[in-house]
Symmetry: C2
Amino acid sequence: MPRSVGVVGLGLIGGSLARRLNDAGCRVLAWNHTTRPYEAAAAQGIACLPTLEALAQARPEVLVLCNPLKAMPEMLERLKPVLDDATTLTDVGSVKGMVREQVRAAGLGERYVGAHPMAGNERSGWSAADPALYDGALWAVSVDGDTAYERFQAVAGMIVGVGRNRMIVIDDATHDRAAALISHMPHVVATALVDELVDSPERDVAVALAAGSWRDMTRVALTDPDRTRAMVEEDAANVEALLRRMAARLSGMADALHAWRSDGPDDGGRTRAQREILRFFAAGQPFRDYKAEAAAGEAHGATATLGLGDDWREALMASARRGEHVVGLADARRVAVQRRSHLAD
Amino acid sequence: MPRSVGVVGLGLIGGSLARRLNDAGCRVLAWNHTTRPYEAAAAQGIACLPTLEALAQARPEVLVLCNPLKAMPEMLERLKPVLDDATTLTDVGSVKGMVREQVRAAGLGERYVGAHPMAGNERSGWSAADPALYDGALWAVSVDGDTAYERFQAVAGMIVGVGRNRMIVIDDATHDRAAALISHMPHVVATALVDELVDSPERDVAVALAAGSWRDMTRVALTDPDRTRAMVEEDAANVEALLRRMAARLSGMADALHAWRSDGPDDGGRTRAQREILRFFAAGQPFRDYKAEAAAGEAHGATATLGLGDDWREALMASARRGEHVVGLADARRVAVQRRSHLAD
């Protein structure tokens, strides 16, 4: 656990992290673009600084950028001349490649480790901040060939230091593709479903008949569409590629249904269309098995120790691909990993 | 409320309905393809008959087919020679056009009113049957030009008679298109998302990062894929058309993101791609407004009386399109309707 952490931005994510670190006994310094949360934060023991520059000059061991992504270039420009070399820089942004480029452009690449906690809800601001937001949270930590092990260690120490948080270590591109797959692209799909409903002449009949499946599949389309749009645009290339793949899947299924309708009686695999339809519905089975395993409480395997040498990045990334989570730092060059359920090949 | 109702099939839907009608004081007769649930059903006061023919010959006022859709042709063939003309035939199937065709093929079209209660869960069988499944349920009731008002009245009486159940009256084609839009097509989309994950080389990283949005959007893909496939195949033409529309929406958004990436800085509407992206995210606003209104408890309007003349079908369908639910039968030719939230034009 770092002795001190600086938090930039006391919104939902930053405020919750500041409070959780503070509860865990870490010295927390903070700066926010307005002083509105300062009184409440100070009452909890968080030291609120008047400027971003003053926060940097207080030399926290780790500085966490929890500002909105669009403010990132300005924050980095201001930090550039004042950030002490001893301070490790990290962030909580939902895309990692773009942030690293901006950090590099500000000449701070060597001090940076990317981070993305899987924590959040539909609320925002300090008033919504709650240390419990991080209960059991998994963080994605992104490193590249320039990342020094000590920088990683500082950020990893903060993550496991807040208690029962876990991490996987990956590179920026893998993170951004995975986030596009399980979050950014599905947000577009949910929005498209809602757009389709609104366009339908049957919309009021359809909405009357809507049940659980519709409610679940469109819930994320109810969040602020500007926030969703920004998230999608920040990961645009990956989302674009996945939307094309999804469009091809849906067209393919439409073609198969079309052929199936003219095929006549279904014997469950006689014609090409029947086989395609069966394959479409069977293909997701490894995910169903994974969820069933998780639901049966078999998700958490034993904890093991992973020794890290000079190829520590590759070793940690391979561990992530095996479905392991880093749950602790055993010593300077060893981490504790826990095997989780993973999707069979 | 009919004096007596016959229920064919004591599974989740039929068993729950039988129990609820029985609790409401209706005389309930039942037949099931196995006698397994008979002892428990009889203990509740449900009269279990040894054959489907015996059930028909007991002349219930309404006979509800709660068997699986694939058993429908056989049930109808067996009922054809024995069903008393005084008995009104209805069902609870999730598609209505196909069932009416089968009913007509058996020469029973004149006695038939389609019905589809929006009730269900992932369980099945008599052991899962629970009268509470129908708490506040909305039924789609489908009629056509041949439906006699008295037949509609018998089924409507059963629906409002089970207590706090509501209905909208529509034609088969509208029902099947609406059901494809809010349920059958989204099930395919959820399945495609899961297939995409399983196909991804990043699947284990992605699944580690998966949070609420992914969980909600793929929940329905966890149900028995054979059940989903059967549901999709039964409404294949409508699902096919909607999948093509969704594929076009997703491709269109992919194209817009592609153009946007080469457009340079976004000023929120300067280029065609920017405008398209803004429009995509704004188009669903009427649904967001509808949900916000419903969440604010403003969903239920006042109750009014709707008089029904010779054009009762058209009057009831227009009421459904206005977002009204039939909540009671005022007298022989008037129904009580309640205005609900609806999506603005």
